[in-house]
Symmetry: C2
Subunit: 187 residues, 2 copies
Amino acid sequence: MKYPNSNKVYVRPNVSAGNRGMSLEEDINRTSRYYLTEDIAVIHKKPTPITIVTVDYPKRSAAKITEAYFKLASTTDYNGIYKGKYIDFEAKECESKTSFPFSSIHEHQINHLRSVIKHGAIAFIILRMTHYDKDFLIKASDFIEFYDSGTRKSLPYAWIEENGFVIPKSYTKPCDYLKTAEKVFEL
Amino acid sequence: MKYPNSNKVYVRPNVSAGNRGMSLEEDINRTSRYYLTEDIAVIHKKPTPITIVTVDYPKRSAAKITEAYFKLASTTDYNGIYKGKYIDFEAKECESKTSFPFSSIHEHQINHLRSVIKHGAIAFIILRMTHYDKDFLIKASDFIEFYDSGTRKSLPYAWIEENGFVIPKSYTKPCDYLKTAEKVFEL
């Protein structure tokens, strides 16, 4: 899925990572399904926001949308509940070896993270550095602190390694982010 | 917006209520925007889930979705955070004078409410009875208890009046559901 009309650096949100053949989104959804069926947590990806212009209603078959456009998300993509806590996060894949560019996360998503932190959320970013085949959990508050310092236009990989927490993976939980969140946020 | 391929009783989710000219969805969204800008809570409606089949990428203009279909929602439409609590609810408009039919709320939405309750959510249903021009907050646990009793196929209006809590409205908060939730759930 492409979002044109944007001259920002494009970090693919939804593309096979290295030789694993699964996108971060698929891995998160699969893990979240495991959490759901095992009654560990209820976390869902929000649907892609769309502006619908035209819908056909053919007789005896499903309504068909024939003109619609992608809309910018005003929140992060994932939220839900774990151990009574409100969980909120954004997930990004990054192919660069050296850094994660801020241009690939939208300002209003960052502001959304600021708001939910203020209201007591467990908020983070899951960053898949495809070159290193590693998924990191970064506390949204750490991310925002660095972002607000205004000295860089990206998160250097060295910063990610120092401040991020590696997320374990297994067959049933290909991105076991709650295991990491549990330790990092002492849940 | 219609969802054909369904022989269920159709309760309009998104239609002007009486002479107020605003749908419940618009009233909730407007109220939630007020909560957001006044830094009271962060609650958003989830986008309508869509299965995208075909997307055109014209040069120099926005990607255009030319074939897509409505998908059944697997969760409720609204969630977020208030006073550190995870909030989750569904909203329905009902034009019947006598009852709210269960057929207008999907089984998996009810199951979603069951799950989030188990994990500690503040969960409810906002029911606009358009004939009476009243919005009710119904605790999801009360709704589910009645639903599971299996004696009826709808919520009788008398039950709604007895077990529901009227939601106040004002110009800036046309459906001030948190005011009601605060009392009902002692937040």
